[in-house]
Symmetry: C2
Subunit: 142 residues, 2 copies
């Protein structure tokens, strides 16, 4: 039986379901790397930013800072990131990637692209680009 | 600081975040009606289908049937749905909406449209239509 129109035509409903599906698949696919999607987000930001503070990381990823601390503890225990006192202000700590963290991020990025390809397989390349553009607009709006 | 490209350009990542945001807002907005999004999905399907079995409901909403049973118990306790033996096969039970269930669904549908409007406010009407079309394609693919 088909989904009723008020659900199937509501972008909020569709986003919520597709988002959940996408998250589950990525979670499963990177489990063998010993990390979860939130860890991947952190590795990915650090790869581009170089050493940054926890506050900057939390803001960029829009993560709760208490939760971020726990995630960083896990990544540090795995040897993927290090926290070191900022040479300018020793009370502040800067987080950075280790070489193992960089390799792990590369592996996870490849998996992420594969999961996205599977997710979008019914769309033509130009439709994927259009979807990407619209979703980025929504992401930036908030 | 900006999100790195491999996140900001990954539809999986964007869907997952926007889906979570959309779900949280709808959950908050309908809390005063005493229902959650999964309840709304059930009310909405029943509104269109008339009395149907639990198995049909689970399949339409792609919900786990054990979880569905619990949701139906809650809706029945609130007087929003009833389960009655199917007159054709008395071992089967058909679920249907009560008049109170219909009213509750109407109220929730109005709230759902408002939440969607807020979510999509940065898009033009034709862009919203395009996003809807692309998301439906992805929904139907799986």
């Amino acid at each position: 039986m088909r989904l009723p129109d008020d659900l199937e035509r509501n972008c909020g409903y569709l986003l919520s379901h597709l988002g959940f599906r996408s998250r589950s698949r990525f979670t499963e696919a990177i489990a063998r790397l010993g990390i979860r999607p939130a860890h991947y987000g952190i590795l990915s930001v650090l790869m581009e930013s170089g050493p940054i503070t926890q506050a900057e990381l939390a803001e960029t990823l829009r993560l709760d800072s208490g939760w971020l601390v726990g995630l960083l503890d896990q990544l540090e225990a795995e040897g993927l990131v290090v926290r070191a006192a900022d040479p300018v202000d020793r009370r502040r700590h800067a987080v950075s990637l280790t070489p193992a963290g960089k390799r792990r991020r590369q592996q996870a990025a490849r998996i992420g692209r594969r999961v996205e390809d599977e997710l979008l397989q019914s769309l033509e390349p130009e439709e994927r680009e259009e979807l990407r553009r619209l979703l980025r607009r929504l992401w930036l709006q908030h």
